[in-house]
């Protein structure tokens, strides 16, 4: 098992309702989640706005510290591990961010952005690895000298993917990575991700609010609603026979191609 997550809870202080004296009330964002991510799986995490899916992702990468439960990564408990102890493990868990503009440092060239994690983790032959990563995501090598604002949205997201795979991690978290792209770029980025998962044998957690994207990519799916798992299982089964009412709502929200539709 790559990830074993047991009764994961996370709450954050609500500073807007903090009384003048004393502690702020806490908002429960994750209310006891239990699930596994097997080696080589592509897990879809789906849910509406505020369901806690991004918080779950950030807790899995330990950008946030859980307030209860446990997270085990490759057999090691990382629930409350200090940043210094997490650092060497970070090479194995990488992330692709939702907004490719904000996740790429605007004052660094693409080559420098992709090289960043390699430098931090003390790799050698960084130049060659950067070019290789650009090749793998289908960007021309000359892009290494460009700034992020000189790229299109789809190209930026490829840079984000290149940065994540440059370290050759075992696990990648993709947080709503196509929600900001137009439909044709979405398809290209999803195809690329699918290819990379196969080629590199990645384990992937794919966060999305879009069930049609989940169906294309993921072999297991987990449905979140208000910080709780309402349903999880193989994607095909979940689509064929949804158990929870909320899952049915999400499925109904997929626009189906309807030949009888009239644009009156």
């Amino acid at each position: 098992m790559m990830y074993q997550i047991k009764d994961l809870q996370l709450s954050l202080p609500d500073m807007t309702r903090k009384p003048l004296l004393g502690a702020a009330p806490r908002i429960e964002i994750l209310r006891g989640l239990t699930f596994d991510v097997p080696q080589g799986a592509v897990l879809g995490i789906v849910g509406g706005s505020g369901s806690g899916k991004s918080t779950l992702g950030r807790a899995m990468l330990r950008l946030l510290e859980p307030t209860g439960g446990s997270i085990t990564f490759n057999g090691q408990d990382i629930t409350h591990l200090a940043e210094d102890d997490l650092r060497p493990m970070r090479a194995q868990m990488q992330m692709i961010f939702q907004d490719p503009m904000s996740s790429l440092n605007p004052r660094r060239r693409v080559g420098g952005i992709i090289a960043g994690p390699l430098h931090v983790q003390g790799h050698e032959g960084i130049g060659a690895k950067v070019l290789e990563a650009l090749d793998m995501v289908g960007l021309p090598r000359s892009f290494a000298n460009r700034y992020p604002h000189e790229l299109s949205g789809g190209q930026r997201q490829r840079v984000g993917i290149a940065r994540a795979i440059a370290l050759r991690p075992e696990f990648i978290l993709a947080d709503e990575i196509v929600s900001g792209l137009d439909v044709s770029s979405q398809a290209q980025v999803l195809n690329l991700l699918q290819e990379l998962v196969r080629e590199l044998g990645l384990t992937l957690a794919f966060i999305s609010h879009d069930m049609s994207v989940i169906r294309r990519l993921c072999d297991r799916t987990l449905v979140l609603y208000r910080g709780e798992i309402v349903e999880q299982g193989p994607t095909a089964a979940l689509f064929a026979n949804p158990q929870a009412a909320y899952t049915r709502d999400l499925l109904d929200a997929i626009p189906l191609p309807d030949p009888d539709q009239v644009w009156a």
Partner: protein, 283 residues
Amino acid sequence: MRDARGDIKRPLGLRLWLSGGWLLLLALAALLAPWIAPQDPLAQDLFTSRLPPFWESGAEPGFWLGSDSLGRDVLSRIIHGARLALIVALVAGTLTCIIGTALGLIAGYYRGWPDRIISRFVDIWMAFPPVLFAILLIAVLGTGLTSIIIAIVVIDWTRFARVIRAEAMTQGAMDYVASAQVAGRKRMGTMLAEILPNVLPTVVALLTLEMGIAVIVEAILSFVNLSISTDSPTWGGMISEGRTSVHQAWWVLVFPLITLFFTVLSFSQLGEGLKDRFDPVLR
């Protein structure tokens, strides 16, 4: 994949050239002052007192911008005054910038107790009227170049700390900072390698602004006789002396004032010009 985004050209920086040109001229004048000044800036001669500038009748060759009531050449005094003005601008401006930026970055990126301490100090500092604060400091430290520089740094670091803290907070919330953490970069490294380059354009703009302010503060302190001894000519000192005889000899007041004006303007425009020219992110 080839598109025009990489080929956009930058506009020609007219204000960079104008402001840079003026400051370069001033720097040359300051460096070469003993050789290019037409007269000894301290030489008093009552026979040449209150000579008008060269285009008016009664002007004398060698006194291009006229002379003051003690017969000292105005142009030579402006040229020698540039030395002090530029030293104060560079040294005080740079020191203020380094201290204020460092504190602002720490407060804005680390938050928590460092932020609380630094922000409280900024709040307290801002409650002092700056000119009175400067006069008070000079009274304690004594007059002289070092005291002026210390006074400017002690008073003005809050200007940087406040702005850079806000910028660092904005930048700290960006995903590229989270991405640096995912890569395993240490917090100090993230602050210096990721956040600093993104606040640098603001730092440069503030730095050049601060240099202009330093020139003005020096002039104010000279104006109230709290700067350097009267032996070394300063623009503020000249303005102060010219004020008393403005009806008989307006040039003693006006020429240093114009020089001061262009210098402060050039410093502030230089910052904007540098940003236009060198910031890789086109806005």
